[in-house]
């Protein structure tokens, strides 16, 4: 009981301190008082400590099976493994909102510590924005969805939904939330820049790493969620254009556009309004994403919880969207671009196209996602938007994006002469045409995959060429050997080469998405013990079943052996788990192979043999299975790993950048004297 009350009072105190942080910062700005501003910053740090105490109190509830706490009783049980008791923290609405608030308070503390001696003119405003957001989440926790609400204790807990009993589900939500919450920081500094009329590049340079950090975690969160859906939900795929999936994809798309367009502002001092707009959209979409995930407003496999937080989110979203927009209108004259586009054949124009497409796809996905809601609101009938509708937009425009990914490295900033472009373009374009022919001969006859695979070759070649040219230029100028040139080149320009590695990951992901979507093979069948079925090159035999009773479930394990092309391909273990509270949950079995329909005994990039148990009849020992062959799907996960490596390189500390900001500050101070 002590911890519950400590948790509750900590949240209450954190709310009061968040309010004080805003008030004190505003008073500090108006009275130019360093003391007031410092007090506001300290309130932010103190609120971090208080929200941490509240979080520890909730964790304590889970670890001690304190089922008097409704949230603990709902998402944990005596039999739940320790790790999942901890993971249950963010399994529901209240815990997720607490996680949001905790992460934000942590980030604001980091921001305060990072900026003790810099960006002082922007800090009070930025802290006000961050603390207003924190205040909103704390109000939600206190008034709408209190994680410490008490109930008459049930003897045992309900426990986690079995589909959430997966290690990837332990890390997917916090990863996604790191992205959602992280975008608050560039948003806060953008608003601070607008308020203070410091609308140049300083706010972008200051928050560049935060933007990359948020974009990276949001992307990885999406990918982990897809992998979880693939191995746990048991429908053969990883992406179903589910509203909750879309809700995380949309801010990721606008965030990707933002990362590219800020480069144009940094290099060419253009697109100032657009960049502010993009970060406003991205932040609001992150809030919208949290709302969709946790409100259950649009029916979805992810909407495990439903509650009355909608009105709070609607009010906050309206404020977060319209107030910055009005402020932006008042500051338009300070946001004029200082240069114009010189040529269509320039990197900045490619980035602009890329921005238009990314934002276009984001808008389309957004409209399609909320379409069922709008339809229900206006007509009273529920409508659904199917996967083909989403694909009709995202696939062709996604391919144009892939083309731009390959074109960008070939083109210079400002302008590229036609003759130079032709020379640089020759090899990738030739390889593109050759791949079209080769893939066609090899049997790839569907238009989109054929273009996707060939464009992947085009992009790969342009990236490899860029590395090659960079190494050669470095060898010429510094006289270094190939390896040294390679590493120095990356270290000296982490942003450029880290970005190329990210693009390399994206290419792999395109290959995985195209192959698995276009060439998936599906078969369903019932097998008696000892019987087998064929799919593709594979023969699957139902070998054995075991039944076992656990305290919380009844388990049937179905073992199959797989052979193909006359070779043993291993065994597959699938499970049917009957939970009295949740019904039957399946555990799929997957066998991975290196190349589609070929080279055996090497694991495991090319294709998955994916088996879903559909049912079991003990009297006749007959089990039914749905089996998929998912070609090239592992390229998707491999692409994710490459993306992680590339993104890490781009966010590595940059001494030069830090020194520029420091020097700018010193210059400004000297100039004042």
């Amino acid at each position: 009981m002590v911890m519950v009350q400590v948790g509750n009072y900590s949240l209450l105190m954190a709310t009061i301190l968040s309010t004080w942080a805003v008030v004190s910062s505003i008073l500090g700005i108006t009275s130019r008082s360093k003391n007031m501003i410092k007090s506001g910053e300290n309130a932010g740090i103190a609120s971090f400590a208080l929200i941490s105490i509240a979080s520890i109190a909730l964790v304590h509830g889970f670890l001690t099976d304190d089922f008097r706490i409704e949230y603990v009783a709902h998402y944990s049980s005596i039999h739940q493994p320790l790790l999942y008791k901890l993971g249950a923290f963010w399994a529901g609405q209240a815990g997720s909102l607490l996680l949001w608030a905790w992460m934000l308070s942590l980030f604001s503390t980091v921001i305060v510590l990072q900026n003790r001696n810099k960006n002082r003119a922007l800090m009070p405003q930025a802290i006000s924005v961050i603390m207003t957001t924190q205040f909103f989440f704390l109000i939600l926790l206190i008034f709408a969805n209190n994680p410490f609400k008490l109930v008459p204790p049930p003897p045992n807990g309900v426990g986690l939904n079995p589909q959430l009993l997966n290690p990837y589900m332990l890390i997917h939500p916090p990863t996604l939330y790191l992205g959602y919450v992280g975008f608050t920081i560039p948003f806060a500094f953008a608003i601070a820049a607008l308020i203070t009329k410091r609308t140049g590049e300083a706010w972008i340079i200051t928050t560049r790493r935060w933007s990359l950090f948020s974009w990276f975690f949001l992307g990885i969160g999406i990918l982990l969620g897809s992998y979880w859906a693939y191995i746990e939900l048991g429908w053969g795929g990883y992406w179903a254009w589910d509203p909750v999936e879309n809700a995380s994809l949309i801010p990721w798309l606008t965030g990707t556009a933002f990362l590219h367009s800020v480069m144009i502002q940094e290099k060419r001092r253009m697109l100032k309004v657009w960049n502010i707009l993009l970060i406003i959209f991205t932040f609001c979409l992150c809030i919208f994403g949290t709302f969709i995930t946790r409100s259950g407003i649009i029916s979805s496999v992810h909407a495990f919880a439903e509650s009355n937080i909608g009105i709070f989110f609607a009010i906050f979203l309206a404020i977060a969207f319209f107030v910055p927009l009005i402020l932006l209108l008042f500051r338009l004259r300070h946001l004029k671009g200082e240069q114009e586009l010189d040529s269509i054949l320039s990197k900045e124009s490619m980035f602009m196209f890329n921005n238009l497409i990314l934002v276009g796809i984001a808008c389309t996905v957004f409209i399609l996602t909320i379409f069922p809601l709008l339809a229900e609101f206006f007509t009273g009938n529920q409508a659904t938007v199917g996967v083909p509708v989403y694909n009709r937009v995202s696939v062709p425009w996604g391919l144009v994006l892939l083309l731009l990914t390959g074109l960008c490295p070939l083109i210079a900033w400002k302008r590229t002469s036609t003759s130079n472009l032709k020379r640089n373009f020759l090899l990738p374009a030739t390889l593109f045409v050759l791949s079209l022919i080769i893939f066609f001969i090899l049997g790839v006859r569907k238009v989109y995959p054929l273009i996707a695979f060939s464009l992947s070759v085009f992009v790969l070649s342009s990236i490899v060429m860029e590395f090659f040219k960079g190494i050669r230029a470095r060898q010429k100028s510094a006289g270094e050997n190939v390896f040294r040139s390679f590493f120095t080149m990356i270290v000296r320009n982490k942003r450029r080469y880290g970005g190329y590695i990210v693009h390399l990951g994206v290419v792999f992901m395109y290959i995985g998405m195209s192959g698995s979507a276009a060439y998936q093979v599906e078969k369903q069948g019932a097998l008696k013990l000892g019987e087998s079925m064929n799919i593709g090159i594979y023969n699957i035999r139902f070998d054995r079943f075991t039944e076992k009773e656990y305290p919380e479930r009844y388990n049937i394990t179905l073992d199959l052996s797989v052979s193909g092309n006359g070779r043993d391909r291993g065994t597959i273990k699938t499970e049917l788990n009957d939970y009295p509270r949740f019904g039957v949950a399946t555990e799929v079995g997957i066998v991975r192979d290196l190349f589609p329909h070929s080279l055996p005994d090497l694991k495991s990039l090319g294709e998955d043999l994916y088996v879903i148990p559909m049912g079991f009849e003990p009297k006749t020992s007959t089990a039914s299975f749905k089996v998929f062959i998912n070609p090239l799907i592992n390229f998707l996960w491999l692409g994710g790993i490459i993306l992680v490596i590339g993104a890490h390189i781009t966010v590595l500390p940059d001494k030069e950048e830090r020194e520029i900001l420091k020097a700018a500050l010193l210059f400004a101070k000297k100039d004042m004297r």
């Binding site: 002590v2 002082r120 140049g200 590049e201 300083a202 302008r415 003759s419 960079g470 100028s477």
Partner: protein, 84 residues
Amino acid sequence: MTAVIILIILVAALSFTLAPLFRKAEVDTSLGDLKSSASEELFLKKESLTEALKELEYDLSTGKISETDYRTLKEKYQKEIEAF
């Protein structure tokens, strides 16, 4: 017991938050000072041009721009930098 713990947390949080208000009053000169902001912006613009020059060298060495474009743009950037 609970009340004591909560009281300790409350006192600690409030003392930390309000402590700066009991120190000697200091005026923040960086706030609302558009002159220093303009200087900072000017410096960053100059740095951005220097960066653009480096980028130009790279684009020439990797064959993305012609020698003529390189010379024209280099001259333009250098003039802009000198203007600072």
